[in-house]
């Protein structure tokens, strides 16, 4: 058994293949459901779409509120990613490079905020955004999601910045770089992977979350997930076909992100340093 540890002669692992199959099966099935008429989807468990029909997608692309919902979700996620990186990069730099008073406490405090369920903050958030007339805007959703994306991004980026030796800062200072130029021209390119991983984790919350996005929007900024919920309500009439097509569309940005990060998934997720 111990021989298996030798990592240079590798084979196929049955458990990995089975697990990957089980992971992909529901998503594959979702694609099948989206590609066949609804009448078939609610009566028989097809493994292949038969007959193939694009009616679900045509329906979605012919309805203004579905297209807008899709765009709305993309817009607030983009705003959220920008905001998150803009505020967490300097914070991560501070946590990594300075041993200031209250450092540990501040770091944990940021993390505690990540633990608060949206269910707790949702009523005050609605009141707050209504008071400043930001309710039903993309910005409101993006800001509210920052509560979840900023702490984890600071945490990830702090690890990546700490893995770059502090001597680098000192040499750059000797060479006449100001702290700002050093940060932009030398540090940022080196923690690209970290930025990618932070974006992954932010996306993993902002794109998939619905409770906050639903409560803070009414018409103008409603995301596609909420539009879908209106037709996918468990006790209402569920339109399996359209819901599946919408689901597949909602999976696309995630697939794109995974493809962009494919080379960094393994090393990147060590958060800069492990053990």
């Amino acid at each position: 058994m111990a021989r298996r540890v030798k990592t240079d002669r590798k084979r196929w692992s049955k458990s990995v293949l089975l697990y990957t199959f089980l992971t992909l099966a529901p998503l594959y099935w979702l694609a099948v459901l989206s590609l066949q008429p609804n009448a078939i989807s609610i009566s028989s468990p097809n493994i292949f779409p038969a007959p193939i029909s694009l009616e679900n997608y045509t329906f979605i692309f012919s309805k203004r509120n579905w297209i807008d919902g899709y765009a709305n979700a993309l817009i607030y996620v983009a705003i959220n990613l920008t905001l998150t990186l803009a505020v967490s990069l300097p914070a991560a730099f501070a946590f990594s490079r300075y041993k200031f008073v209250g450092r540990e406490q501040a770091f944990f405090f940021a993390f505690v905020l990540r633990l608060i369920p949206p269910a707790i903050t949702i009523v005050p958030l609605v009141q707050m955004f209504s008071a400043v007339d930001l309710i039903d805007t993309h910005l409101a959703v993006a800001l509210a999601h920052c509560l979840f994306t900023v702490p984890i991004s600071i945490w990830i980026l702090e690890g990546f910045i700490s893995s770059i030796p502090i001597e680098m800062d000192e040499i750059a200072a000797v060479d006449g770089y100001s702290q700002g130029t050093f940060f932009m021209r030398i540090l940022l390119p080196q923690i690209r992977t970290g930025i990618g991983v932070a974006a992954f984790f932010s996306f993993m919350f902002s794109w998939v979350e619905l409770t906050i996005a639903n409560a803070l929007t009414t018409v103008e900024a409603k995301p596609i997930g909420v539009v879908m919920r209106l037709v996918a309500e468990p006790n209402g009439g569920v339109h399996i076909g359209i819901s599946s097509a919408a689901s597949i569309l909602m999976l696309m940005p995630g697939m794109l992100l995974v493809w962009l990060l494919r080379r960094h998934l393994a090393r990147g997720f060590s958060m800069g340093r492990v053990g």
Partner: protein, 284 residues
């Protein structure tokens, strides 16, 4: 380091943001928890009234108990299975890294889609799992407590095991190869290698996975709502649903505030212990 206080300057943007969208709402709920409202706009002090009510409320303890039970069941499967798959992926599987792309997909699936697809999969006539079950004589029935719980736990395992796999695989990749070679020369057993080399090296990523999973699992809301709407009766009503019901449907902000405070008093100390473990490892 010099200019220590300059650090706070870098923290101003994120601190201001988190204070506004996190800490301020929290204080608002704390404020509600000690007041009652009359006609919606006149507030008066009621002290510990809502706390006493919450602590004697079977709905609160029931929802909290179910949430904790769900978290324990689902996380123990996810963490063990996650380590196992990551281990196979690292030691046995050719091109282990390529599999991570596929395994990452459930993590990026919107929660409403997760709930939707698993609910339909359990349909006895047209569902992937339901029809297979019906064929072999065990028909899934989402009107029974046992099936609802099985579905929700299976769904959560499918949804989140990948996070443990990816984090642990990253942990494995960063273990220096000579550790394994030395262990092999010493003739260490597979179990000994796992217990004394791999597990200590994975400790940090495992604590990260555990912290993230505990936090998110305790606040689960959308997926069980899609599966069963909290039913049958209240058997799958978790804490977040109970809280949202109290705050947004019954408009009982006082009780919702008290529930929130009680919840955080339970969760924050547990996280602090895990957090100390994790930071202790950094020597930071």
């Amino acid at each position: 380091m010099q200019q220590k206080n300059k650090a706070w300057l870098f923290l101003v943007p994120s601190a201001a943001l988190l204070m506004t969208i996190g800490f301020a709402p929290l204080l608002t709920m704390l404020n509600y928890s000690v007041q009652d409202s009359f006609a919606g706009d006149q507030f008066f002090w009621v002290g510990s009234h809502w706390y006493e009510k919450s602590l004697h409320s079977p709905a609160f303890w029931g929802a909290l108990g179910r949430t904790v039970l769900f978290t324990v069941l689902s996380l123990s499967i996810q963490i063990v299975l996650g380590i196992y798959i990551a281990r196979k992926l690292y030691h046995v599987q050719k091109n282990g890294e390529a599999f991570l792309c596929f395994l990452a997909l459930p993590l990026l699936t919107p929660w409403i889609v997760v709930g939707f697809v698993w609910r339909h999969a359990m349909d006895a006539k047209a569902g992937l799992i339901g029809a297979m079950g019906a064929f072999s004589g065990v028909t899934p029935d989402l009107n029974s407590v046992a099936w609802v719980w099985t579905t929700i736990i299976l769904m959560d395992v499918w949804h989140w095991t990948s996070l443990t796999v990816i984090l642990c695989f990253a942990g494995y990749v960063s273990i220096p190869k000579p550790y394994f070679q030395a262990a092999q020369i010493d003739g260490a057993s597979t179990w000994a290698i796992f217990r004394y080399i791999e597990l200590p090296k994975l400790k940090r990523v495992l604590i990260i996975a555990l912290l993230l999973r505990i936090a998110d699992s305790l606040m689960i809301y959308t997926e069980p709502l899609m599966i069963s709407r909290g039913g049958p009766h209240v058997s799958s009503t978790f804490f977040s649903q109970e809280l949202i019901k109290t705050a947004m449907l019954e408009f009982n902000l006082g009780e919702a505030g008290a529930l929130s405070v009680c919840y955080l008093m339970l969760v924050v100390p547990i996280s602090w212990i895990l957090y100390r473990h994790m930071r202790g490892q950094d020597g930071a």
